[in-house]
């Protein structure tokens, strides 16, 4: 149910993103989904990659601050109103969303969103109980190929 996300501290410095992504490339790691949170002082780059542990090691060797965060991937029909269903379920169950980002797959009939909530297990449970599709790590990576 849980997918590993790399969270990377990005200083507001020209060339920093290039440096980070080159380190990932050098480790032969493929980026599947990404988002960046930007503040006036710094950014937090969030990546879903095919080999999170290898990527984290490669980044740490370069002195880059990285942590592995657990997130969940939610799938739903790609049609108007579909996304509001899991959002309403989370709201009804008092689960707050910290952040989220959408990603694309090579299959077009469904839409997918990465969700970071305070309690991943609780979120996965209520969503599954209410018939919302949660991707396992294996399903996620298989789908991306």
């Amino acid at each position: 149910m849980i997918i590993k996300q790399l969270s990377i501290f990005v200083e507001n410095k020209r060339g920093r993103l290039a440096e980070i992504t080159k380190a990932i490339a050098a480790a032969g790691v493929d980026i599947r989904a990404l988002s960046i949170a930007d503040t006036t002082d710094f950014g937090i780059l969030r990546l879903i990659v095919n080999k999170p542990d290898e990527a984290a090691t490669a980044l740490k060797e370069k002195g880059i601050t990285v942590s592995v965060t657990n997130v969940i991937a939610v799938g739903f029909d790609d049609k108007p109103g579909a996304f509001s269903v899991p959002m309403q379920i989370l709201a009804d169950n008092g689960i707050d969303v910290e952040y989220m980002y959408a990603f694309i797959t090579r299959r077009s009939e469904k839409a997918y969103v990465i969700l970071r909530v305070a309690d991943n297990d609780a979120a996965a449970k209520v969503l599954t109980d209410n018939g919302v599709e949660i991707l396992s790590e294996a399903e996620f990576h298989e789908m991306m190929c």
Partner: protein
């Protein structure tokens, strides 16, 4: 312009010499007999109070530095029993502990006299209202000018700091004649008045006394234009008394020192040898007229020069130039003394690496302090909320030690200069 105490301020050099000699002899005896720290220091160099015959013997005396106050924290250098103390003030120390100073009633009177002379030199009289926008509290600014105003017989208005719109309202409604605050706050008030569309000429304020932080002649001109007043400099430090140790007269070309109470010397900070008048060096004060804290040759770390030429205002007291820097790394930010080592102290107390960079800037005439610190790996969070909470936590810890707000910017581990060697810890972008 009126002179508050012409008997002293316009005294002959001979008179002052005799007065200073008598006071130094008395003060040295007090320090030796009542402060174990000074007894030990004097004994160490084989100096007896009887060896001091006149003010010319002052160079025989040992120096006192800020760390001596810290090492004897809080009351170890006081020369009077607690029953004789009437006031305590404190300012930032070089580490977590503040520098604590005590006053007897006589000391408060001496200090008020200095501040009253400053107000008078700025044209103040008993008919004036003195709007005091320095902070009131352990900081000596607010109460110093307040007691000075009362000593002068003027009306003290303890406005304290903050709420600029209300300050301006009071300036208008209470018809204040003199305003006292930090020069940067004076600029801020002036700009707020301009932005509110008020013509400064319609305000009754005619003079301002500004100090507690370094300012330039350019700032003086700007303040004088913005507020349509004449701007006077005032100097002081809590170890010696507070604001009023020296002050501008209408000539505005150096501050007259209350040398009957605070005897100044300028020394070479490296050789510690006295320097002749006119040469820049470190300012040293001996509190010849104070009881509770009789500091001997206290090194202020301020770099300035002394001149003894007769002033056009009529005063004969020695004048000191505006301090042009420091012989240590102390920063003065919004009137508050900040030592980089205090930041290090806070970081270590939070189990963080003692690597930091202080960036000081002045925007809209207010000093801004930013502290860049290296986060520890466990401080990193994937959420902005989590990172901001860490910044806030460090900001709160800094605020409680520094007594001013500093913005914290988290940096990746290993990206700031290391603590070994002479790492550059401060970037001061203020044009002073």
């Amino acid at each position: 312009m009126p002179i508050f105490n012409p008997e002293i301020e316009c005294a002959s050099r001979d008179y002052l010499h005799a007065l200073q000699s008598a006071r130094l002899i008395k003060m040295v005896k007090n320090a030796y007999e009542n402060v174990p720290f000074y007894k030990a220091k004097f004994d160490e160099i084989g100096l007896k109070p009887e060896d001091i015959h006149s003010i010319d013997d002052i160079t025989k005396l040992p120096f006192t530095v800020k760390t001596d106050l810290r090492d004897n924290y809080p009351f170890g250098l006081f020369a009077v029993p607690k029953g004789e103390l009437v006031r305590i003030h404190a300012s930032s120390g070089t580490t977590g502990k503040p520098t604590v100073v005590g006053y007897t009633q006589h000391d408060i009177d001496v200090w008020a006299e200095g501040a009253a002379r400053a107000l008078s030199a700025a044209g103040g009289t008993n008919n004036d209202t003195v709007h005091v926008s320095y902070g009131y509290g352990l900081f000596t600014g607010g109460l110093g000018l307040h007691y000075g105003a009362e000593k002068l017989g003027a009306t003290a208005l303890p406005a304290s700091t903050g709420n600029t719109n209300r300050q301006i309202q009071m300036l208008q409604d209470f018809k204040s004649d003199i305003i006292c605050c930090t020069p940067s706050y004076a600029m801020f008030i002036g700009e707020t008045i301009r932005d509110m569309g008020i013509d400064p000429k319609t305000l009754p304020v005619r003079a301002g006394i500004f100090g507690a932080e370094p300012w330039t002649e350019e700032m003086r001109k700007q303040i004088e234009e913005l507020l349509a007043i004449k701007a006077y400099d005032i100097y002081g430090l809590s170890e010696i008394a507070g604001p009023g140790v020296s002050y501008d007269c209408e000539c505005q070309n150096g501050m007259h020192v209350c040398e009957d109470y605070f005897y100044p010397e300028v020394i070479d900070p490296d050789t510690l040898e006295p320097l002749p008048d006119g040469q820049y060096g470190e300012l040293v004060f001996t509190c010849i007229g104070k009881e509770a804290l009789p500091l001997v040759r206290y090194r202020t770390r301020d770099i300035c020069a002394l001149t003894r030429e007769k002033c056009a205002c009529g005063r004969t007291t020695v004048k000191m130039s505006k301090p042009r820097g420091r012989s240590d790394d102390m920063l003065i930010i919004r009137g508050v003394n900040v030592f980089p080592s205090q930041v290090e102290h806070v970081l270590l107390s939070l189990n963080m690496a003692p690597n930091y960079l202080i960036i000081v800037d002045r925007k809209n005439n207010l000093d801004l302090m930013e502290v860049q610190v290296e986060m520890t790996p466990d401080m990193f969070s994937d959420t902005v909320k989590g990172m901001e909470a860490e910044e806030k936590r460090i900001e709160a810890a800094l605020q409680s030690t520094l007594n001013i707000h500093a913005k914290v910017r988290l940096m990746a581990p290993g990206t700031l200069p290391r603590s070994e060697g002479k790492a550059k810890r401060v970037i001061d972008n203020r044009k002073l």
